[in-house]
Symmetry: none
C-alpha cells in the first residue's frame, strides 16, 4: 500500500509536469492529468488539495529532491570551486534530463509568481543557501572574492544559472544545455573570483 501510494502520488506529479509543460497550467485539465497518470479524477484530490496545489507541489517536491541530491553529491568534494562546478552541472543536467520539468519551472511557475511568493519561499531560500554555503567556503579558501556580501553573490550565481535555463527553454531546448555549463562557470570565475589574471587575456 505504502508503495502503491507513493507510486500514485509520483505518477500524478509526473503526469502533471508533462501536461503542464505541454499546454500550460491554465489549458491543462485535471481530468487529462488524471488520465495520463492512469487514475480517476477524484484520486488527484486525494493527493493534492486542488489544481493550484498540484503546481506548487511540483515545485516543492522537485526542489526537495534536488536539494537532497545535491547535498549528497557535493559532500565529498574537496573545495568550493569543484562544488560550484558540480552544482551547475546538476542544475543544468537535471533540467536537460527532464525538459518538461524545465518548462514548468521556467514558464508555468513564473506565471503564478504571486502565490509562488507565499509558498515557495522555503525551498527556494534553501537552495540559495546551498549556493551561499559554497560561496562562503570559497571565501574562506581564498578563491572567491571577499569584498562582496555573500547574499549578493549567491543571488548572482543563481540568477545566471536560472537565466541560462530560461533562455534554453524559450529557445525550444534545441541545444545541449549541459554544454553551456563550462561557459557559465567561466563567467562566474571572471565575475566573482578573487582577482586572478583573466584566463582569456592571460598572455603573460
Amino acid at each position: 500500500m505504502r508503495l502503491k501510494q507513493a507510486d500514485k502520488h509520483q505518477r500524478i506529479l509526473d503526469a502533471a509536469i508533462k501536461i503542464f509543460a505541454g499546454k500550460g497550467f491554465f489549458q491543462a485539465k485535471v481530468s487529462e492529468i488524471a488520465r495520463e497518470a492512469g487514475v480517476a479524477d477524484g484520486t488527484v484530490y486525494l493527493y493534492f488539495k486542488n489544481k493550484d496545489e498540484l503546481l506548487i507541489s511540483i515545485f516543492e517536491v522537485k526542489m526537495r529532491e534536488v536539494i537532497q541530491q545535491f547535498r549528497t553529491a557535493v559532500s565529498e568534494l574537496p573545495d568550493a570551486q569543484s562544488r560550484l562546478v558540480r552544482l551547475v552541472e546538476l542544475h543544468l543536467g537535471g533540467f536537460q534530463k527532464n525538459p518538461d520539468l524545465a518548462a514548468v519551472f521556467q514558464v508555468e511557475l513564473r506565471q503564478s509568481y504571486r502565490f509562488m511568493r507565499e509558498y515557495a519561499k522555503g525551498e527556494l531560500k534553501e537552495y540559495l543557501d546551498l549556493i551561499g554555503d559554497i560561496v562562503e567556503r570559497g571565501q574562506r579558501e581564498g578563491v572567491f572574492r571577499s569584498d562582496m556580501p555573500v547574499g549578493l553573490m549567491k543571488r548572482f550565481v543563481f540568477g545566471a544559472i536560472d537565466e541560462v535555463v530560461s533562455t534554453w527553454v524559450m529557445s525550444g531546448m534545441k541545444y545541449d544545455l549541459v554544454g553551456v555549463s563550462g561557459q557559465l562557470v567561466d563567467l562566474f570565475f571572471q565575475g566573482i573570483a578573487q582577482r586572478a589574471p583573466s584566463p582569456v587575456c592571460a598572455e603573460g
Copy 2:
C-alpha cells in the same frame, strides 16, 4: 467615425495589453478588457475575432509600429555600427516606456508559442531581417566578421537583446533597461566584431 473607430481599436488594444500584463492571458476576462477600454463586451468582437486574436494582434500591430519606427529612425544613420546601437536603444527603450507591453511580449506571448508560430512568423521574420540588413551592411563595411552566416548572427543579436529584456521583465523591471544597452552592444562587438583588442585586458 473613421477616427472614432481607430480610437476604439486602439483603446481595446491598449486595454488588452494592460490587463494581459497585469494578470496573464488566461486570467484576463474579455469583459475586463472591455471595461478598461470603455466599450461594451460585444464591441471587442467587432474589432477582433476572438480573445486569441486579440493577443496575436497586440504582437502584430506593435511589431509593425516598431518596424516602421525603426526604418525611419535608421535610414539616415551612416554606418552599421551606429544603426545597431540605435536598434538596441529603440528595442530596449520601447519596452522600458511600456512595461505592460514588455510583460505581454516576454511572458504571455511565449506561453502561446504554438499559435505564435502560425501567426507571428511574418512580423518576427521582418524584424530579424532588419537586423540581418544591418549585419550584412556591417560585413560590407568590414566592421562585422564575415566568417559566420548572416542567418546565425542576426539570431544571436536578436536572442541577446530578447534575453536582456526577459531578464529585466522577470526581475520585476526594477532597474534601468536602457542603461544596459551599452553593455549589450559591447557584448556584440566583443562577440561578433572583427577581432578588436579586448578592452578589458587592454593593458597595452
Copy 3:
C-alpha cells in the same frame, strides 16, 4: 428591456420557489430552476450571485412585498383589533395562495437558519415591528393589555401565526389555512386582550 429584466428576475425567483418547494434546496439543481424559468443556466447567475443567494433572495423579496402590501392594506383600518385580524388573514392567505412559497419559508429557510440569521434579520425584524406597531396601538386604545412588554407580545403573535403555518405545511396543506385565522385571532384575544369575558363560555 427593463420589463424583460424584471420579468426574468421574477421568473427565476418563481421557478426557484417551485423547485425548492418540490424537492428541497439541496436536491434542486440550478439547471432545473433555469429550465423551469425558461432561461439558460448562466442567466441565473446574472440575477443571483449563487444558489444560496437565490434562496435568501426569495425570503428578502417576498418579505419586502408582504411588508409593502401589508402597509397599504392596513393604513386605512380604524383600530388595532381590525388591523391584527387583517395581518393574520394576509399572512395566512398569502401562503395559502402560494403553497410552494409556504414550503420554502417554513421548511427550506429554517434549514439554513445559520445564514438566515446573518441576512434575514432586516426584513424579519421589520415584519415583527409591524406587529409591534399594532400591539402598541392596541395598548393605547386600551384593548390590548399593557402589563406585558411589546417586545414579548409581538413575538408571541408572530410565533403563533408561524406555528399555524408550519403545522399546515407539515400536514401536507390539506385543509383550509385561512379558515384557521378566526380561531387564531380568538386565541390572541384570549391571550393578550384586556381581560374580557371569555366568548367561549359566554353563557349569558
Copy 4:
C-alpha cells in the same frame, strides 16, 4: 462479535443522529459519520445499505425502541387517563433527553417525507395504534368522548404532541419541554374529554 457488531451498528446510528442533527442530512458526509462513530467509511455500508437507509433506520430503530419502552411502561397502569399522561411524558421526555434525535425526527425526516411515506408507515402506524388503544380504552371507561371516531382522535393527539415538539425544536430547544406536558394533557381533556365544566369559566 455479536456484541461488537451490535456495538458498531449502534455507534454508527448514534453518530448519524448527531451529525444529521448538527448540519442536516444533505450537508452531512458519510465519512464524517464514520469518523464520529470511530469506524471506517466502508464499515457504514456493512450495516446500512446507503445514506438514505441510514436516515430511515434512525426512524425505524428509535420508533421500535420507543414503542417497546412504552408497552412496558404502560401495561401496569390502571386507566386510560394515566396511560395517556405517561405517553406524553415519555414522548416529550425522550426527545428532551436526546435533542439531536429530536432535531432529526422533527426536521430532517420531514424533509424526506416522500420516502418516509414508503418506509416509515409501519412504525408510525404502530405508534398511532398505541394511542388508538388508549383512546378506545378511555371510551370504554367512559372518560373519553365516544361521538368521535378513534381514527380522528388518535391523530389529533399525535398531531398536538408532535406540534409541541416541533415548536420546541424550532425555537432552539431553549425551554423545558417536559414542563409543557401538563398543559398539553389539559388541552387534550379540554378537547376530547367527556364534557366537563370548563375550569376557566367554572362559575357556578
